[in-house]
Assembly symmetry: C2
Homo-oligomer: 476 residues x 2
């Protein structure tokens, strides 16, 4: 019995990894190099090795091959990609991260890409659209069936983040005049039932969606019953223009497995399934995380060094610029620092605590916005709450830091400056931490993106200004 045989991914990948890594890989690579220049016998042996690898790969699920490809450095990646059977290659391309797919398609001869795509169903093919150049796309379109071509051409027109780009054309449809018996007949006539089919869509003569028929309902009724009598009409339908992320929330909220996609006249044009939505949500969450640190969302962990280095320049430049601008504040007070050099030691603490606290507020606000928990009605409450927290914590921890500064430098007035500056910068941090993501959202931009940079810029600059300003006023 094979039950549970797919459970442990590591165990399944181990034999393949064993084939690839270390000695075996090293051997293969030398053989590969020799094979081109050396004897014919070496070439034959090399091909035998390749076939052994291909056999092992054939036993893996495409998602597992994708995982394997993603975790390999460039050379090993190319090696294994060259032996991936064409019939699963397309599925692997669909499963790997965007930047990896991009690289793989680039290094693959056009014929092979077309051949791989021939094995994909149109929905999966439409995923690959963004990586194909004009010429390759035309060749692929020419190689598919006419019925698939029109679907693909439609699907290609929708932007990446919409339902239209994620929907599938493969679904179970029945006419409203049908009975349960007719429906079963239609199902049995099909070659295969699409994956994730939990319901059959009921349409009228003009292909307008009239209701859905859960497959389990179908099982429980007698063959003579009419479909319209047992179908459900209180169902969710989406349009191709809907944002995939908000549709994802609906899938999660109402525990959907599949949902119909209709056009503006309620005509059924496609189907959305939970696996695609889940995949989309997960990828988006990961991209968000990296975007927040100023990285490309699909940064390839094992991609080329120089490309990765260059990918980080914009962010480095912005960071250097803001750090530089914030530090300009200090220049104004160089005279003060010369008189009391302890200020140079204490000022980074004030700046740093503001940045950290503000980032907490940003994280909360960004999450609240993402979950639609923050609206115009409760925004004021939230702002007052965060300012209240800043006031309480600023008073407590400002006092602590004030006492420490007093103790260290034997100057009660320096303690006061330290304490008040800490309190004020925490309030600045709370205000910016609330205001910046909210403002970004209002301006129609991603509230997470760049909020942190602006915050750190303000808390650094204001931290220096408040602390050195107070010191100049009270101490000098």
């Amino acid at each position: 019995m094979q039950l549970g045989s797919r459970k442990n991914l590591k165990d399944r990948l181990a034999p393949v990894l064993g084939l690839i890594h270390r000695q075996e890989l090293a051997e293969k690579l030398t053989e590969l190099q020799q094979g081109t220049s050396d004897t014919l016998a070496a070439g034959v042996e090399h091909r035998q090795h390749q076939e052994a690898l291909a056999t092992k790969l054939r036993r893996l699920h495409p998602a597992d091959i994708a995982h394997l490809v993603e975790m390999l450095p460039p050379e090993e990646r190319s090696l294994i990609w060259s032996v991936v059977p064409d019939e699963v290659g397309g599925d692997v391309l669909v499963e790997v991260a965007d930047s990896v797919a991009d690289g793989l398609i680039e290094e693959t001869p056009a014929e092979r890409v077309v051949e791989m795509c021939r094995h994909l169903d149109p929905d999966d093919l439409s995923f690959l659209d963004e990586f194909l150049d004009e010429a390759l796309r035309d060749r692929i379109l020419a190689s598919v069936l006419d019925s698939q071509r029109s679907w693909l051409e439609t699907s290609f027109t929708y932007p990446e983040h919409t339902v239209g780009a994620l929907m599938s054309g493969d679904m179970l449809i029945v006419n409203r005049d049908a009975t349960v018996r007719d429906t079963l007949k239609i199902l049995r006539r099909r070659e295969s039932i699409p994956e994730q089919s939990d319901q059959i869509f009921v349409v009228d003569a003009r292909h307008r969606l009239k209701g859905v028929l859960p497959i389990t309902t179908l099982l429980l009724h007698s063959p003579s019953e009419s479909v319209v009598e047992i179908m459900e009409t209180d169902t969710m339908a989406f349009t191709p223009e809907d944002e995939a992320s908000s549709v994802g929330k609906a899938f999660e909220r109402y525990d959907l497995i599949s949902a119909p996609v209709v056009d503006s006249r309620d005509r059924l044009i496609g189907r959305l399934t939970v696996d695609v939505i889940m995949h989309f949500i997960r990828e988006e969450a990961e991209e968000d995380l990296l975007n927040r640190e100023g990285l490309r969302g699909d940064e390839d962990l094992f991609g080329p060094v120089f490309e990765s280095a260059r990918g980080r320049w914009l962010w480095l430049f912005i960071n250097l610029l803001t750090a530089f601008l914030a530090s300009r504040v200090i220049t104004v007070f160089e005279g003060t620092i010369e008189t009391l050099v302890a200020l140079a030691t204490l000022m980074p603490i004030v700046a740093s605590i503001g940045g950290n606290t503000g980032n907490q507020t940003i994280a909360l606000v960004v999450r609240g916005l993402a979950l639609d928990q923050i609206g115009r009605e409760n925004m004021r409450y939230l702002a007052l709450k965060e300012l209240g927290i800043a006031l309480i914590n600023g008073a407590i921890w400002g006092t602590v830091m004030g006492l420490v500064a007093w103790g260290l430098y034997q100057s009660p007035m320096l303690g006061v400056v330290m304490g008040v500056a800490t309190l004020l910068n925490l309030i600045v941090a709370a205000a910016v931490g609330i205001g910046v993501p909210m403002g970004m959202q209002r301006a129609g931009r991603d509230p997470a993106l760049g909020s942190s940079v602006i915050l750190t810029f303000v808390t650094d600059g204001m931290g220096f200004l408040i602390f050195l300003g107070l010191a100049t006023a009270l101490l000098i």
Copy 2:
């Protein structure tokens, strides 16, 4: 036709929000206060208002009520909670964030909680376990059916993050001796089919799992066929001890809708469904995000101010401590700064750029570890790559900053100090950004948690040390 009627959440919540917010709420609250002290007529009117609200709530999906409850400040939240019908209250408790559920249960009389829980199925009930105190749990256990009690008692024993705590006991089971006809009969005899039922589990006389029968397969075969002939045996099964997060990856990877849970002897004991898994993954991702900023994962956006303030003390303390320790480095060089006060202006730039760059590396490594893309085999490659990036970018941007410093202060040597310090601190940042999350992972801890604090501590401290140290050696 109601098709698509559930699509726009905001539109659906608006009438309820209208009832609650602003004027109407203010009215209700005064009525509420008057009702207790004032005339009987006011009391009757107040009750009518409450019923209008309850009627509106009854039309909403429990997930929508949960959303509403989450986005309300404390007073409004209590008001609406008091009118949530008991028969959906349990579902609402299951749907809201943990900290919100905690608060709601605390403010609800024990009788009402028990009544609400009576309407829940055992799987949902087991979710609430963590919020119930001993006494309440016993009362609830006493109120449920015997058959449910034993299920609950088993389910309560599994830790929160395991399959055992998330699995459901409600599933479709058929004996291996059955035919398709028998199976259909069993299904029709049931009151209802469990949600997310895409397959029927086939067991032997000892209740050991022998295979699964997709419902769509059932539709396509004749009544006389035997179940064992058409069932699938290459299916995934989990054990109650499996970690829910790794099971979540399997669900996503293999596009599962449901999967059987078996004990060590392959006996079928429960079922796991994609909706529960999706919910778990989403909640865990959100908690992770907040944890990284030192916040409680289930921090309630609209919870009490003082509690929230206190919840952030530990993190504030750690941040202050590390910032303070890093700044101690500066003390050593106070003499140098007194001689050349420009150093006080430039040193925060070196520290800041190290922190930002290192956080990028941490984000990449943490993601790679979470996706199982990083193993012992490719760790060295990854470390060399990040160090390479640091070297390239340090050389380029160090030169830029060096030229800027030279230009500003007319000192070529100060430019050299600035440039070299930037380069060196970027290398330190890359090393720490790789080393800390990897080390955390090896020590069996969450690699994301606290990595950033350690990194900032090191890049600040080392930034000051390298910059001021070089300045002392070369300039003074």
